[in-house]
Symmetry: C3
């Protein structure tokens, strides 16, 4: 029997355009019956925050400030030509117009396709984000060593 192909994506970036690329690749692979893991770290944690807007998260003042400024999945900026946050909205309009799945639809598809959404323990510690701050669909909170074990024989992308 042939072994299942595996894809692991390290979702480091919290940019709207890069998140789109990550979820497009992930759902495309999962639809082809690959085993897909997405490991969210640093800015990527914003994609998984329960509250899509800005929220003070963390115990220390610094963490609360950073988390507020970074915001959640509805506040992701474009990596370029962001125009003060207007571009992701324009881009979503262009995606709808051309019948391409939007970011929200892609994240729902990722869950439906049983993609393994996991959060980076160390980044959560630094940014003082707790499991409760993240959406319920997150399957695990793990460290780098565990992620590496999950990614054995996988193609790995850093986005």
């Amino acid at each position: 029997m042939e072994q299942k192909r595996k894809l692991s994506i390290i979702c480091f970036s919290g940019d709207f355009d890069r998140a789109l690329a990550a979820f497009t690749l992930a759902t495309g692979s999962a639809a082809c019956n690959w085993e897909v893991t997405m490991f969210f770290t640093f800015w990527g944690l914003n994609i998984l925050k329960k509250k899509p807007g800005r929220k003070f998260i963390g115990r220390s003042l610094k963490a609360r400030m950073f988390n507020f400024l970074m915001g959640g999945s509805a506040k992701m900026p474009m990596s370029r030509l962001n125009f003060g946050g207007m571009s992701p909205k324009l881009m979503t309009g262009m995606m709808k117009r051309n019948n391409v799945a939007t970011f929200t639809e892609l994240r729902e598809a990722a869950v439906a396709l049983d993609i393994n959404l996991i959060a980076c323990e160390m980044a959560m510690n630094i940014l003082e984000v707790t499991r409760d701050d993240l959406i319920d669909e997150v399957k695990e909170v793990i460290g780098v060593a565990t992620f590496l074990r999950y990614s054995e024989d996988a193609q790995v992308l850093f986005i």
Copy 2:
């Protein structure tokens, strides 16, 4: 007989410095007799546009505006220290001075080395870029699923 080594590069970025890195890795691998595929998506499509400068492309007003602002291969910005577009020119001067292949030479080398230049169908739909807007050397316009099939047993980079 040993199998040919394969490299697939997802060229997501349209930054001058990252495009340089992508083509340097691609041509270096191809020169070592690897089978190389470059998959251009989102900002990376700008690298393949026929017109190197700025041009209105697309049917809708939004797409036309985005494509104009993004421009073609001669308008790629540096990811940092861009100085209003002056840095790519300075950098090209430094490359010539030190006998390193410039971006234009690298793209020509990629074609000469028979690297598989392919464009992402979905990104073209979103940005309303057509096959005619891209250089003739682009071999195919494909979706993610096809790209994944091409990349079986390849080392894959996201740039």
Copy 3:
């Protein structure tokens, strides 16, 4: 006997947050007994500069200006929310507060774990950086072809 797993990281970025991610993944893998290579190119060379601050390096005026503006490992900016260079300091404080290894500690750990730190010859030529400008721990200065040979059977990340 099982073959040792290998990880190669192309450290292209000189951003503080991305450098953190690169060294975290590298030291995590090395601690799990993988064979790890970090290949520093372009902005990533700043991480290896002997002088952590700003310094004029190079023969030509352009190179000297670029190297001064890019600075060394103590001048790495955050990729977002940099606040004029204050954020890496805030972030380091948050890491200490939460008992996470800081960047300096991670780079020392990389050396202690015998990670193969290598510098890109071509990027050094373009930016007119010499071996003497880099820390002693750099094991080699090599070209892309040699790096590719080192990375056979490795999982490769572009950061």
